[in-house]
Assembly symmetry: C2
Amino acid sequence: MQMSVGAPLGVFDSGLGGLTVVKALRVSLPQESIAYFGDTARLPYGTKSPATVYQFTRQCLRFLMSLRPKLLVVACNTASALALAELRGEFEVPIVGVLEPGAKAAVEVTREKKGGGGKRGGLIATEATIASNAYPAAIRRLDPQVQVIGRACPLLVPMIEEGREPTDVIVGLVLREYLTPFLELDISTLILGCTHYPLFADAIAQTLGAGGGGVKLIDSAKQTALVVREQLDTMNARSTSSGAPPTRPPLTCYVTDQGQRFERLASRFLGESVGQPVWVTPEMLEL
Amino acid sequence: MQMSVGAPLGVFDSGLGGLTVVKALRVSLPQESIAYFGDTARLPYGTKSPATVYQFTRQCLRFLMSLRPKLLVVACNTASALALAELRGEFEVPIVGVLEPGAKAAVEVTREKKGGGGKRGGLIATEATIASNAYPAAIRRLDPQVQVIGRACPLLVPMIEEGREPTDVIVGLVLREYLTPFLELDISTLILGCTHYPLFADAIAQTLGAGGGGVKLIDSAKQTALVVREQLDTMNARSTSSGAPPTRPPLTCYVTDQGQRFERLASRFLGESVGQPVWVTPEMLEL
């Protein structure tokens, strides 16, 4: 396949969370246009089985491929954990997931830290990501001495999508419940293993700070944007500005569910408003 | 189509919640065999648009029709609210939803109550059910004098599926937040407009009892089972016991997602364990 430097980055997520990765990409790679696909009709993936997540992810990536992207980003931790390894060979462009960049950053930070338990990291994620064991496996490949302790946090995504503020009393109690075990385990890092979680990053840091002292949070979104930039450099495929003042390259969103919900919630994740998304029904996706 | 008295009841839900309706059917109609379909790969429906809920519900009912049921039950409030009216003409067997039985019971109880605001009822449900306005419309058709005040409660389903007990501190706080507005509105009934909610019925009653005094909860599951029984009587289609001791008629579950999650959670809704469900991938459903 002929690769065009002006082609978009294809970014996939089960719904809204991947927009935190888009936000990081817009900072890190401001010249790139982005086609974002959110499978909003079938979200969430975090409670689904590997077989289903694989099938849905494959369909969505095939749709993105029809837009002739130069690179695909799987901006969903659950899809990265459950489906990416199997999908990698299927497409003619490189695929960057969010799991390996997060795992790599966690290993680096854990190594740097001195004293205490030292080589122990925490992970919060969806039920499916935790059950997959993909993060501990990726980290073990990078450094067998780093231990990872994971915990599913099923209420965080619905609380964020409900619009609760990080300062909400109920958010505080839920975070305390989910994070207390980590306080006793002397972790040096905590991976935010779901693209929704950066919206609660400050509240998570505060909860850990109460007794954890200096736990470093790993936000996969930023790490992933850096890996995408490196990958484009390797391919010599960065878009370049053409004339001043530069026009902001487009972000086009495709969603499988109709309705205003995506548009309404998107700005919380992206930090800016998205335009009207394009509706692609699940029936239009190839099997 | 030839209708067989021995044919199963076809019960549809987006996932697990409809099992509370199955539980009520097993009590009310112990001689009936049941085919249950849970669209676990694409749940929840409660945050999705009418177009998507219609399309998914139609596919699932078409699958159930291939099992030659004598009657269909849409045991999902969101699907009943968003899709049932349009779907009714499409199938050759009667379809009973959960919305009208609940609305009817709410109107009856509201009428009986004396004094106070009297003719005012409350409704808790998913975002999509509330947005559809289907409950207020159904109630207005039955009695234009009964007012309904609705509120979406997005955290209740994930808290129930997470396995939280009704006595959990966080459950108590969330219920207080969601229900406090109703305490000030002098309601006489509260419709549990989502089939998950009966699992928290006692905690909901307790929260309302603190200041609400005698608010009657409407559990659509039980009301729906009564309507199904009446409908079968009208059709002269009740299964009859054949010899003693009667064998328990089968409950067969079909789900669109693979994995143990359905089986693991099902007993909380059904009050008994379900067998291994049959896996029907979404791709196998006709468009």
